[in-house]
């Protein structure tokens, strides 16, 4: 089907459990299937060990699964994030079995545009509002320039009590908001 976009309303953030989130980039089927499978493994861990799984362990389970299917043509680039005993954590996992720990990641075909915005404005002492604005801005710029990126911006905030959904804004509506901003900054 080539570059045919089947849907603009796919939810690209998967809620694995109230404390873990996974993002979706690459093949939608591979992402949603394997992240739901990860959710099942995390629940089994909880039942067997009477405590919540760490983000490091959850991301490792996913990475090991990807590793065992290496060569089968899976396509998945995801970020696993959550808050566990060691604090907030973020891991990047992809279909090669790569697993990286970091404070900041951008994944997908439009990731380079997002990195430009993120790297320019990221500081490690951002307030929650500043961070939300930065995330929204990064997504907007990526979807504006990359034809294969777009749809709804689902934004979540992860705290020690779990994740909270902040908003779900259509990126096309965001354009006019940022256009206004440009107008006012140009005139001043």
């Amino acid at each position: 089907m080539g570059n045919y976009i089947a849907s603009q309303t796919v939810k690209k953030v998967i809620e694995i459990n109230p404390f873990l989130l996974g993002t979706m980039a690459g093949g939608a089927a591979d992402c949603s299937f394997w992240e739901r499978n990860l959710g099942m493994q995390c629940r089994l861990y909880e039942l067997r060990n009477k405590k919540r799984i760490s983000v490091a362990a959850a991301s490792k389970l996913l990475a090991n699964t990807m590793n065992s299917y290496r060569g089968y043509g899976l396509s998945m680039g995801t970020m696993v994030t959550g808050w566990d005993e060691t604090g907030p954590q973020l891991y990047y996992v992809d279909n090669d079995g790569t697993r990286l720990h970091g404070n900041l990641f951008s994944v997908g075909s439009g990731s380079t545009y997002a990195y430009g915005i993120l790297d320019t404005h990221y500081r490690n002492d951002l307030t929650v509002e500043e961070a939300i604005d930065l995330g929204k801005r990064a997504i907007y710029h990526a979807t504006h320039r990359d034809a294969a990126s777009g749809g709804i911006n689902n934004l979540y905030h992860v705290t020690k009590d779990g994740w909270k959904k902040i908003h779900a804004i259509d990126v096309n509506d965001m354009h006019y908001e940022f256009a206004e901003e440009k107008k006012t900054s140009m005139s001043s």
Binding site: N49, S54, A56, A57, K60, L61, N64, E85
Partner: protein
């Protein structure tokens, strides 16, 4: 209890208390050869856990693994159960922000596992010795008091003293097998105490007669 070594035998090769993970030790009662196989499986499992979870396995996890393994061999064709019970000692995390607490787990050939404050396995006198432990165990004993109690228990079954005992202490920071010299010291303290109580009991008797 360690069986008396032949003069020509190297004592280092007959350890009955082994390390399973960085801070977990295991003692067993039963077939030594079966123990070697089970301990090796457990060591491998501990390392696999560290690789996939990026953290140390809890004592409870290891005890569950050993118990699960022992149970498997009771419900499969062509195999026989492992002929041993194990006692695993180590430290486990308490609630976040609290110190690690010591734990003791026991498994048996049926495949059950349970946690104990103090326990004795093996030999014909395990039941009597367990009662002895129950009488003398107190919560929050110091390390010295615990070692003394353990040596007292062993002295009930072992005749020749420190040469036939293997004592291993596990602390939050690591494990240490007591040297024979140190065990002999504890044995001496206990024997002196027994003599004292006997002497004072003897002294009382003549007074009662008079």
């Amino acid at each position: 209890e360690r069986r008396a070594l032949a003069k020509l035998q190297d004592p280092r090769t007959i350890r009955k208390i082994v390390a399973v993970d960085a801070n977990a030790i295991l003692a067993f009662a039963g077939l030594t050869a079966d123990a070697r196989v089970l301990v090796n499986k457990t060591r491998t499992e501990a390392q696999t856990y560290r690789l996939t979870v990026e953290d140390a396995p809890s004592m409870e996890y290891l005890a569950r693994f050993i118990a699960r393994t022992q149970q498997k061999y009771t419900q499969r064709g062509g195999v026989r159960p492992f002929g041993l019970s194990t006692l695993m000692a180590g430290f486990e995390d308490g609630a976040i922000g609290t110190k690690k607490k010591p734990v003791l787990y026991q498994t048996d050939p049926a495949g059950t596992h349970s946690s104990w404050k103090a326990q004795v396995i093996g030999g014909r006198n395990a039941k009597t010795l367990r009662e002895f432990l129950e009488k003398n165990y107190e919560d929050n004993m110091t390390e010295e008091a615990v070692v003394k109690l353990i040596v007292k228990v062993l002295l009930e079954v072992v005749d020749s003293g420190a040469a036939n005992m293997e004592v291993c202490v596990i602390r939050a920071g690591g494990r240490e097998t007591m040297s024979e010299a140190d065990v002999t010291k504890v044995v001496k303290v206990i024997e002196d105490e027994i003599e004292e109580t006997q002497a004072s009991a003897g002294a009382k008797k003549p007074a009662a007669d008079a």
